[in-house]
Amino acid sequence: MKLKYSTAVVFCLFIGFFGLLSLLNFGNKLITKPEDRQEMTMEKLSKQSLLDGSFATSFESFFSEQFVMRSTFVEFGKEVELLKGIGSGETQLLDHHVLDIVQTTTSVQKIDKKLEEELYSDDGVKETTWGQILIYNSAAMTLNTFSETAAINYADSINRYGEKFPALNIYSMLIPTQVEFIESDHYRSLSVPQSETIAQINTLLSDRIKTVDVLGILHEHRNEYLYYRTDHHWTQRGAYYAYKVFAQALGEEVPAIDDYSMSTAENFLGSLYKVTLNKSIAETPDSIEVFDPFTAHSYKSLQDQIKYNDGQVLLKKWLAEEEKYAVFLGGDQAIVEIQTELKNGRRMLVLKDSFANALVPFLVDIAETIIVVDPRFYDGDIESIVSEYEITDLLFVNYASITRRDVYSPLYNKLLSLE
């Protein structure tokens, strides 16, 4: 037998076979999983999208998503990438696209192209959306960087709220991320210290804004389970300490953490695992602890429907799903309303990113109304909410890494209709 042309044959079979199967796969997915997020992100075929090339771009990613045996290829790809270093690489720096992390946690929500543009472009200049993930001590964490523009604009946006709503108590809470508390000075120095960036923003805030310093208490308890190893968020235990500081600032007593009734789910592999598929962090999956608030309450969305919502801020059915962090509020929601049986006259508005999701359930015990708005998804205005719900307290909750790029200030400004 002559095998002279086996290279050509193997190559043609390879590209033909996988190409064809992926195409077939394509049709399948479209029909059987209409709720698939990729279907939503697929650009509509139109004259406009064809001409500006956006259809092509979105088709590229769509094709990649539908590729046959995709997950096997992805896992193998991540393995191959590790070969470039020496040793098994217990400590590593990995690249990631910022949007990847957002997508893994908000897959309940759709992140469409338009949103991506809003989030990550500024004056037509595409900002760097690449970041780095440090794998250290079986935990993955994003590195912090600092953009002065981002810090100034963020503080400026919050100050605008101060001017616009003179009657409200306004609080700003910036939550440091895990990398701030790792033991090794050496690896901690890879990241811009969040103690400094938080302090810098705080000095830029006007006297109208009360800052809630959670860094100190988190540092004090840094040896407890405050951050997930496989996810970029903090745990609800971490959020508890922040809640304690905040509640004390409001003059409220906070029960000890052990007094809460707690449920736990094991085997949580979060956003940073999904982005890196790193084996060393997968060996020690996270467990997710959930603390029930003491106060009876109702929970509902004012914009989109929330999966598994049974009227409680903790949606425990999510604990059985992959995206376990969605147990808190059901993931990032555009706008939600919580009514409690308290009658203390405190009506709160929380403007936030996903870090706040773990914190809000505690707030149920200190307010009669809580409205939570995620500026990435809410497209209404804030003034009408403040007047409709007679808001008394406004709390900004963001992770301290908002200084990496100027994302939140334009979003917050938009809610004020100032821009």
Binding site: S6, T7, F11, G19, V80, G85, W130
Partner: protein
Amino acid sequence: MVFSSLVFLFLFLPINLALYYSVKQATVRNWILIIFSLFFYAYGEPIWVSLLVFSATVDYTLGKLIENYRGEWQSKAFLATSVVVNLSLLGFFKYWNFFASNGNFLMRTALPYHEFLLPIGISFYTFQTLSYSIDVYRGDVVAQRQYHKFLLFVSLFHQLVAGPIVRYKDIAEEIEHRVVNGERFSYGVNRFVQGLAKKVIFSNTAGSVVNNVLVNGFDHISVVGIWFGLVMYSFQIYFDFSGYSDMAIGLGQMFGFTYKENFNYPYISRSVTEFWRRWHISLGQFFKDYVYIPLGGSKSSRYRNIFVVWMLTGLWHGANWNFVLWGMYFGVLLLLEKSFLLNILERLPRLFAHIYVLGGVLIGWVLFFFTDLGQGLIVFQTMFGFVEAPLITPEIVLQIKNNLAFIGVASIASTPLLEQCYLKYLRPFLYNRHNNIAYLTDAVIVCMVMVVVTSLLISDTYNPFLYFRF
């Protein structure tokens, strides 16, 4: 569309191959290639494909006219028209903003800017059509009388967006009759997969480090960090560019076209003169044949000619002063080598020559990489310790550690060592066992590379397209 994308590899290419080989008539095959080529270009740049067709139509017409009026003054006039049209296209789309901003700065004029991005591949196809008209004028080739065949030459997707610069005379024969057989096809597959590996495995890996160290990490650069970043950039640009050329050559073979080699292990050179005989060969040849020699070559005003050629070479790479400086930097090095340096290099031990070339090229990449001259200056100062900067940062230590194996493999892959070992030892050894074992080994290697490349493309690691500005 780019070669290193899933849509190209798993949809465009198999469909194109299947259709191409399902018909026998040459004309139909030509049209299939034309339609796929135009689609390839239009996929990401639907508007600018018209520019490509325009350029092809103009030079097709002018080529015929030049030939019809051979020996008369009209012939010269038509050639001049071709030169003006092609250079105007390039001048307007690629250089207008550059000239306008410099003009506005120097003469306080208020020339308007245009806002569109550079149409992809314009630097390549304008040069290709221009060289055709010149060659027809010189009588080096016979003008093409069939429009679709000329359009085929200009639009061929293999080399359309990233070269090599293919001259009409090199493939004139093959446009008329192409021989395709299993042997050529297999060679083409090998070459294409080699190029794909260079791009996806080597260039992208190096590129992501470059992005971290020299772009995102620019605010906290260190001495070692800069050198490390530049070494990685040297890998990135070599593997990227030569990978694209390999893929073009390979695709050409699959469809029956022979393109000339464009890279020949440039980093093993022992002089900068040699480096430029091994790096982007088709561009050097173009400038030599159409600028250097017409200007008088080495016979008259040699220094001026070298200077002009290298300024233009620099400018060809981008409409920015840093590219002009980059070109002139090499012009100066080449002049120095021609006057005395080559003699000295020959007498020195080989190692010195290699260090000189690699160092010289690396410094060249600083000019090339940093389009902002201010940044470039900071980099130079940091590299040689003229400004205060940390020697190394923990991030760089980690980056180097995380990429150490890669640096080793990439270094070896930049030399002919692997190819030599394969051709001299492994292949003969396998052939001696049995021919089929040798063929199968090739097939297995190709298959493994395809699996790795596909995995890396799907897992969506860093995969930029470097040629937007060329």
